[in-house]
Subunit: 277 residues, 2 copies
Amino acid sequence: MEMISKSKSFGGEQRVYRHKSTVTGTDMDFAVFLPREALDGFVCPALFFLSGLTCTWENVTTKGLPQLHAAKHGMIFIAPDTSPRGEKVADNESYAIGKGAGFYINATQDPWASHYKMEDYIANELRTLVIDALPVDEDAIGITGHSMGGHGALTLAMKYPGKFHSVSAFAPIVNPAAVPWGQTVFELYLGEDQEPWKQHDACMLVLAKGWDGDILIDQGTADQFLEEQLTPWAFEAACRKAGVDLTLRMQGGYDHSYHFVSSFLADHMAWHADRLD
Amino acid sequence: MEMISKSKSFGGEQRVYRHKSTVTGTDMDFAVFLPREALDGFVCPALFFLSGLTCTWENVTTKGLPQLHAAKHGMIFIAPDTSPRGEKVADNESYAIGKGAGFYINATQDPWASHYKMEDYIANELRTLVIDALPVDEDAIGITGHSMGGHGALTLAMKYPGKFHSVSAFAPIVNPAAVPWGQTVFELYLGEDQEPWKQHDACMLVLAKGWDGDILIDQGTADQFLEEQLTPWAFEAACRKAGVDLTLRMQGGYDHSYHFVSSFLADHMAWHADRLD
């Protein structure tokens, strides 16, 4: 992998890397913050942050100030892209389909199947790459995300037990098989048969597989997507049924923007740091 | 003035306003963070942050996370634009001249003189507007800025005694009359006669007018503009001669980017909060 930028930040370094992904068949960029401890060679806990629709690695890296909190906790912070990129990659004019909308699943339908393998990319290829190339403690890896990325965090954590050791989410899509954003993409990427959709829906996964730990979700009450796309109460009901310890905090007056994410990112990073210690 | 956006943030509100400026003869946008105390109607200290070349109100508002620190200190945070905008406003293809490069001075030469009045805009019009329209304590207003905005903060503080009660800067241009960025713009905006330039140069101003307080400056040692454009040692020498209490922190390894600004913004905001208390 090639380092395409670096800047000193909070005593550590904010870097952006590019590498050839064999899984997506494209070049992929990701951002990583290394705290001072990691630069000094110590193995550190790490947190993956999966971003939402239309985003790249850049949004949380620039707007969330994760560096402040990661430096405080001696934690590595990894922000991947949200889809494959490049001219050969299929796309759609909707912001919620194609580039910027990988949904952290492996597409099985043409034309998406050739490059849209974001599940495999995050959970296997990129996870292994950062463990091998950076001082990431492979037994202390958390995962979180915003909106589509919250869906990614919850589903990947439950699909790959032992690979991610703590999970939280900001305004996640929890029931994609039942809401417009998810249904549209699942039909295109996975096909009209809804049986395979169940493997990619946090509400169904928590009932089928559970989660060996607690889960933290923050959700703004003034979020314009709350009722139609996000429906956190569906996940709350599923966790209650599955006996999974969910803390769902309905945050009064917050919208879906990064102002919401950055307002509670310190809490989430402290929460992960406690569990990865 | 018209509110064009607002989002809840850290218990307060991040807003963007638009107003017709009689000084610049254009519409002007600015961002303001109001902490919870201000929303509850309490008069609060305020900090102006003047941005650098190419920036708008958006850069520090998005990348610096001032909201976190402003909420902590119960402080209003105001981020103005860096120049007049619009089709009728003169411009130049250089990023360091014209739009995005107002330099916080009043231009006297055509075609700049008709709209480039950023000194008057910040120190008089906008300062009065926020005092009148928002719960800003007019006796507790600080000013800071980055690069060209650091020049603006230092010079406006010294030019308008009693209007700004604390001043600091991040990687400021301190001696514009002697460096390429400043010389180019001063010649265009103020004319070839260098005598009037002295009124807009922090090194000359501190010798002529002094400053009734201490000053904090942070500067990264890996800043690509350090030697040619920033030369903080010139201001250090001038402050020593003028008997002004300057703390200049040369921060090892930091560049000119917002990674540098955000790494030390907490320190600056705490420093201003102490002095505005």
